[in-house]
Symmetry: C2
Subunit: 150 residues, 2 copies
C-alpha cells in the first residue's frame, strides 16, 4: 500500500475498534504484572488520575468531565473510597454537593500505574517508527480536543 493512500473513514474506525480491545487487555495485564491490585482497573485509574489532577472537584463536575452519568460517578467513588484511594468531603459552599480528593496512598499508586502505562505503551507502539508515533499522537490529540467540545 503506497504511503499516500487515503483510507475511507469507516476503515479507520473499524481498525480502531478492532484494536482497542487488545490494547486494553495488554495494558491491564501489565498493571497486574507490576503488582497493582486487581481492583485498579483502567476506568478507575482514569477516574482517580482526573481527581488527582483537579485537586478537589465536585462529583457533578466529574460526570461532566468524563462524559458519564452521576450514577456512574457514585459507583466509581464507592469503589475507590472502599479501597482508601479517594475521600469524600462536604462542600462548604453547597450542602448538597460532595467534593472529591485523593487520599495519601493514591499518589504512589498513580506513579506505579504510570510506569505500567509507559511500558504498555512502549510495547504496543513498538512496531511504529518515531515519526509515525509522532503522527499518531498528533492525530489523537486533535481528536481529543474535539471530544472535549461535544
Amino acid at each position: 500500500m503506497p504511503r499516500s493512500y487515503v483510507p475511507e473513514p469507516g476503515e479507520v474506525l473499524e481498525t480502531l475498534f478492532r484494536n482497542s480491545h487488545s490494547v486494553h487487555r495488554q495494558f491491564e495485564a501489565l498493571l497486574t504484572e507490576l503488582g497493582l491490585p486487581a481492583y485498579v482497573t483502567g476506568p478507575r485509574l482514569r477516574f482517580l488520575i482526573t481527581v488527582f489532577e483537579s485537586g478537589r472537584i465536585r462529583m457533578n463536575d466529574m460526570a461532566a468531565k468524563l462524559g458519564i452519568q452521576a450514577r456512574t460517578v457514585t459507583q466509581f467513588v464507592d469503589a475507590l473510597e472502599e479501597h482508601k484511594l479517594l475521600i469524600r468531603l462536604p462542600d462548604p459552599e453547597d450542602r448538597r454537593a460532595t467534593l472529591l480528593q485523593v487520599s495519601e496512598s493514591a499518589p504512589p499508586l498513580i506513579a506505579q500505574a504510570r510506569v505500567a502505562m509507559s511500558r504498555a505503551a512502549a510495547q504496543v507502539l513498538q512496531p511504529l517508527s518515531p515519526e509515525m508515533r509522532s503522527h499518531l499522537f498528533e492525530a489523537l490529540r486533535l481528536l481529543a480536543r474535539k471530544g472535549v467540545q461535544e
Copy 2:
C-alpha cells in the same frame, strides 16, 4: 507543538484511553440514529462481521480470533441467534464442535451498520487533514498486525 515532537509512549496511550470512550459513544449513537436496533452493539457487530467475513467458522476459532474466552463466545452467539442474525450448525467433521454462519437477515443489517460506521468515522475524523488521516490509518494498521500475532 512542533511537528517533530516525539511523545512519550505513555502519553500516546493515555490520549488513546481518554478518547476511546467518547468515540465509542458517538458511534453507538449513530447506529441508533440510522434505525439499527439497540441490541446491535459495537462488540456484537464486530462479532457478526467477523463471522460474515469467515463464511463458516467454529466457535472455538472465533474465541481465538477475537481474543476472548469460549464462554464469552457462547454469550455472543446466544444473543445474536436470539435476534435471528446468526445460526448454529453442527460441524460434520467433529461432533463436539459448532459452526457459525450469519442468517439471511444479517447482510443488510451489516451494510447499514457500515454506513453508520462511515458516518461516525467521518464525524470523528473531521478535524484531521487527509494526510493525517492516512498516517493514523497506517499506524493503526501496523498496531493491528501486532495484535494478531500475540
